[in-house]
């Protein structure tokens, strides 16, 4: 009966609550990017124009074209880490995770941006290489312990690998900083269910109903 109640709650709430942590599209930062003045003392080079074009094409989801231009940029500027990382992101968004991982791996670890590390962890999670994903998230959280969004992802991966107790602990830490986040609470309840702690799961699901 408890399982039935929990499942019923989950179905209702799943449909009702918007998804938290919706992924950004590649090139999402195009509109908000910091306006660093280009140096107009020299003419803009082809690769500079092509890089901007590749970014824009990825933003408008013309991924194949975007890849072509990123590749051309990298032919001219093979050491341009930002192009390499951005191209990896495009592959990641196209679900070509092998190519994305290959590119991420080609970047020295100390040059990987925070976002790139998180995407790499997502790739590991997608491939069910949960231990590797957990390792990346934990390393990231050591540097940025206040990143609830990343802790949430860690909690999810821990639950997928069956480590419910650790997952629950991480969810509790997320909820400490985001007590009103119903989506996190809903996931938390789900893990409580998987851990067969049905009473607590029901309690948590009831909280998400509000008044």
């Amino acid at each position: 009966m408890k399982v039935f109640i929990c499942t019923f709650f989950m179905i209702i709430l799943w449909a009702a609550v918007p998804v938290w942590g919706q992924e950004e599209r590649p090139g999402e930062n195009l509109l908000q990017q910091e306006r660093i003045p280009p140096d107009f003392t020299e003419d803009i080079q082809d690769w500079q124009a092509r890089l901007e074009l590749a970014r824009l094409l990825s933003y408008v989801e013309r991924y194949e074209q975007s890849i072509t231009h990123y590749r051309k940029v990298l032919q001219e500027k093979p050491d341009l880490i930002e192009a390499r990382l951005e191209l990896a992101r495009v592959y990641y968004w196209m679900d070509e995770t092998d190519k994305a991982e290959e590119l991420f791996a080609s970047v020295p670890k100390d040059r990987l941006t925070g976002e790139a590390r998180l995407e790499l962890a997502e790739i590991y999670a997608m491939r069910q290489e949960y231990d590797r994903a957990v390792e990346v998230y934990e390393a990231y959280l050591q540097e940025y312990p206040g990143e609830a969004r990343v802790r949430f992802r860690l909690a999810r991966v821990l639950s997928w690998k069956g480590d419910y107790q650790s997952s629950i602990s991480e969810y509790e830490r997320v909820l400490e900083s985001r007590p009103g986040d119903n989506q996190v609470r809903r996931h938390y309840a789900q893990v409580l269910m998987w851990a067969e702690r049905y009473d607590e799961a029901i309690e948590e699901l009831e909280k998400t109903l509000g008044d």
Partner: protein
């Protein structure tokens, strides 16, 4: 001949030495006193080269106050204002520079950049068009125009401009 402070030769050498030392000290001081704008300009250049734009703004402004007006000074001052997050001051400086050099596409493009940096995209776009009128097909102006259009959400237009810069059909 024994050394003596009282000898005429010694006194002569000491006088020369004193005059030389005084010149060494007084010449830069006199230069700073009579040409402070040049001194501030040089210091501004040093700060700019070191990437300390706040300091550069201070020195360039002092040079301007002390009477130095040059293309390079205004250009660097405008750039420094943009880099320190005061693009509205950059606009003022580049407007002043454009008044002196109305036919210079480079100055017009810098002005467009300053408008863009202060989020006045429409004005930036108009000014880029002015730069393109002065120098048709200029890649730098097209590049900035594509960036502004991207910010305005006019993606297809921006893509076409990048294609134009690269000479490719997209």
């Amino acid at each position: 001949m024994p050394f003596s402070l009282r000898s005429a030769k010694t006194r002569q050498y000491l006088t020369f030495a004193f005059i030389l030392a005084a010149s060494l000290v007084l010449t830069p001081l006199a230069y700073m006193h009579f040409n402070p704008e040049e001194v501030f300009w040089r210091k501004g250049q040093q700060a700019f080269a070191a990437g300390d734009y706040e300091e550069a703004v201070r020195y360039y402004s002092r040079a301007l106050q002390d009477g130095k007006v040059s293309y390079m000074l205004l250009d660097r001052l405008g750039d420094s204002y943009i880099s320190t997050g005061s693009p509205e001051m950059g606009v003022v400086v580049f407007l002043k520079l454009r008044k002196k050099h109305p036919e210079d596409p480079y100055v017009t493009l810098k002005l467009a950049l300053a408008y863009w940096a202060m989020n006045d995209s429409r004005k930036a776009l108009e000014t880029v068009e002015d730069a393109l009128d002065l120098k048709a097909g200029w890649r730098n102006a097209l590049f900035l125009k594509a960036g502004i259009l991207t910010g305005l959400g006019e993606f297809e237009k921006a893509i076409n401009i990048y294609g134009r810069i690269l000479g490719e059909e997209l």
